[in-house]
Symmetry: D2
Subunit: 131 residues, 4 copies
């Protein structure tokens, strides 16, 4: 799969911290929201799965912070997929400031699906994303 | 001023709590973001004012919770203004679920401007909003 | 019931916004956490009830913001109960800055219990709190 | 420096997401708060530095999620330091569930100090931590 999913949004002022920039922890929220939108665009509904006790979880995240977002900034979060073992998925993600196309965050987030007994599960719909 | 400002957005999954609905505290964030967008649409920039040490603050909030938002819901936050004393502004706000136009939250948020010494200030731009 | 429950904690830096003070929405989190601790001290477990699909919900909140908390501040959140109709409970709450005993927030939060069909329920354990 | 700093705290219910566990993004808040407490224990005040326009920033984070925290859990966040280049500091951190000493998160967070012009700065107080 070579296309890159893109979700655009806008910084909300309560996401800034006392340094006047988006707090580091908030980028996790941005990245998660974009992953869920990406999955939804492929018919995979995180919330519906959770109600069925199939939990999509993050097992590892790596974030490089390169530039900051601040009040009023528009940004895009990109998502693309790569394999990460038999039952894991790697999400390559970038947060991009739209005004100047600066890359603010580069991330690799590795996820897995757990079934109702907490065991790793192979969801056909997820596996199909990698084809 | 009789027009109602309207900001539309979408629930993000991390905003839900263990009950599977948007956490009560998150509506404060929704309301704040919509107020700042409303002010910005009138040329009043919360962040720029904060950098000048003029702080727009909330002195009172009243929220009635009537229905819940959950994963995937689209919502609108409405904002309209009313006077609230000589140096205060009242923001009448509603959070509306777009699928069925249900009112989820009705709110009155009273704000004030404080100058660099923490004293109530009359900002001409804010006062003009009430005309 | 005349005793006042008290939960003490400390401001976390990520709770501050660009004004360098605890963001308004965060006080709602402080108040919620203290209510849950209060209920737990009386054997009422919000999370356990949620798992049984009995949801304790907030139907109304009134907050008066009187002073700010900032980085490093220690604070106490007080909780006491009052009746609020046949199936509702009123939580009188205050957030107090410990350094000078300043009242930062005064709040009234009205809650209700909903059963698995979303109907108001009278939980004997909750009702007993008012005796 | 071989001692390990340890900050203990308790999960707050609003930190859980719809899966009934602490949301991934919240661990970043836990880690940040513990780093700030660690720095403060060595006389380095993040907020005071921010007011002087010396910003301590995160340039990279790596988190491995190994077990979950849920409602009511007590946890400890450990912090120890390691060098990470001439002007960077590495914070080795772990989030530990106290009931069974399970490691929930292992993290490496790399930080830097930026001066008022946004340039990397060598803060003597920070450098001294590595001796």
């Amino acid at each position: 799969m070579t296309t890159v999913f893109r979700h655009e949004d806008r910084v909300r002022d309560y996401e800034l911290d006392m340094q006047g920039i988006v707090n580091n922890g908030v980028y996790f929220n941005y990245l998660e929201h974009a992953r869920h939108e990406f999955l939804l665009s492929h018919g995979i509904d995180f919330a519906e799965l959770a109600r069925q006790q199939i939990n999509l979880v993050v097992v590892r995240s790596e974030l490089d912070y390169k530039a900051s977002l601040t009040s009023g900034d528009h940004y895009a979060v990109e998502v693309s997929l790569e394999p990460a073992g038999r039952v894991r998925l790697g999400f390559r993600q970038r947060v991009i400031r739209l005004a100047d196309e600066a890359v603010c965050v580069e991330a690799l987030v590795v996820g897995a699906a757990l079934n109702e007994r907490g065991r790793p599960a192979r969801l056909p719909a997820l596996v199909a994303l990698l084809d």
